[in-house]
Symmetry: C2
Subunit: 284 residues, 2 copies
DNA sequence: CCGAAGTGTTCGGTACTGCCGAATCAGGTT
DNA sequence: AACCTGATTCGGCAGTACCGAACACTTCGG
């Protein structure tokens, strides 16, 4: 009994499989994976897996380490990753500003793009501090539990935010995560008033972020920049002071993209929602 | 008349095609490519190309920008690239050292892995200078025309070097490129004596590099670190002084990898080749 | 020292997938 | 409005890319 409805007409199964292989291999951080391990995780025969792996290897997407070939991610991915961040001219534009932010705050500075409402970090400048946390690039981060995410959500319509909340389910990450829509809306309102968002141990315990959105030439929120640090050794900065700094630099990014500053966007927003906008302009 | 010999039994054609799509899209730096453009470059029908592109897009490898969908590299590639450089723990280990080198010299510091004799840069720390050149990651660079390449070649057997030369054909990049095997061997000998390699406008006009090899726990040359700068505004450094600095830091990398220092390797080499080793130890 | 069990690799045959081409649809331009 | 460019849809055949089973090879354990 052949399936009467092809799963998806516009999809290439072998390519999908290849991409799943990539996913599988990337999940094994350091030691690489053997062919059988991959084929088991993939649920396909070894011969199929071998052909796929060979093809990927020939293009440098994987590399096989003898003996007893173990597969790891190949250097071509590094190249493509590098090219991908260049294809967003935003990344290029942001780097000097991130460097400035990192130098001024001594923290790790990051830039995230808005990808269907989710923040995806595409650039990062580590601070001089010795402590490093795993801040991977290219990962969709939880919108409700990160500074960049909340900065971006605050610029979206109430309906869109609700939609995103339904998708993610407002998953709890730490004791401080906002897991309830009403509270989130209050928080987003505060973000709009202040011009920057704060993540106070809401995604990772002991870690603290401040983020502010930037805007492209259409006036849409294109992403956010943020700084990340260990809460414990947060230096003598005042929160508001640092928030203003990040906001200022986010506006610089907007300007480079030909977009409006936060002030402009926010006054437009508050005119629509009818909220008083006085505080906004006073703050930033 | 179907080809009696299948092109390659152990290869998946649709995956190959997909990877060629990736290659094609990555070649268009900024504006993205339309479906027809891709399908023309690919030499396949639009329907086929569409299915492939859709599959890649669904996994975040490409992203399609409306209107009139134009395809660009997706953020998943950034993630994989990041993971790939972490899967080489060498990259992780090197970063602080690269930072140090960059800070000490004011130039762009880079780290290349040895991939079948070719240098592939996987990490880079830009110097504070304003001038930036395109130093892409993950690309196989010409071994005979770069400092990192020559540093690595100098650690290989004469036969292996000849082999690589045959492969590349010692292509000329600038007026200063070494295009003849005999000259290259003399140069490599000098590299072995000095402990560092110099690329004096041999790959790109006006650009200047110094590189030194590092070694893994098997004592094999695993790669090289190098600094790159504009020849014109090369500061008041003495060449030998900077060479020693790079060499010193390369040795630090070796140590972190559990490998021998340059001195150790080079004395072993010269014992084999019978060349006098006195100079080597005096230099570094 | 020799088996046994685990690898990775090769190869036939066949079901089905993924290819092409032509037709349709959408949007912008003259 | 008619045109044109480009994206999308769909039918149908061909070939390919699956699977399974047999074959090498290494690594243990007895």
């Amino acid at each position: 009994m052949p399936a009467p409805t092809p799963p998806d007409r516009y999809t290439v199964r072998s390519v999908q499989r290849a991409l799943r292989v990539l996913e599988i291999v990337s999940s094994e951080p350091v030691s690489g994976m053997s062919l059988t391990e991959i084929s088991q995780a993939l649920g396909a025969s070894k011969s199929t897996t071998l052909a796929t792996a060979r093809t990927l290897t020939a293009h440098g997407i994987l590399r096989s380490i003898d003996p007893g070939p173990r597969y790891k991610l190949g250097t071509a991915l590094i190249r493509y990753g590098d090219l991908a961040s260049q294809q967003s001219p935003i990344g290029e534009v942001c780097l000097p500003i991130l460097r400035e932010v990192s130098a001024a705050t001594g923290m790790t500075a990051r830039m995230a793009l808005a990808e269907q409402g989710y923040p995806v970090c595409i650039e990062r400048i580590d601070g001089p501090g010795t402590i490093r946390f795993h801040a991977p690039l290219g990962r969709r981060e939880p919108p409700h539990a990160t500074a960049a995410g909340k900065a971006m959500l605050a610029m979206l319509s109430e309906e869109r935010v609700s939609e995103i909340c339904r998708e993610t389910g407002l998953r709890r990450h730490t004791a401080h995560t906002i897991t309830d829509v009403a509270t989130l809306f209050v928080e987003l309102d505060a973000v709009r008033r202040r011009g920057y968002a704060v993540d106070d141990e809401e995604e990772v315990d002991g870690v603290f972020c401040i983020g502010a959105p930037f805007f492209d030439h259409n006036g849409a929120c294109a992403g956010a920049i943020s700084v990340t640090g260990i809460k414990h050794d947060l230096p003598g900065w005042k929160l508001a002071e640092m928030g203003r700094l990040i906001g200022h630099h986010a506006d610089e990014v907007s300007k480079l993209l030909g977009g409006p500053g936060f002030l402009e966007v926010s006054s437009r927003l508050s005119r629509v929602t009818g909220a008083p906008s006085g505080r906004v302009e006073a703050e930033r």
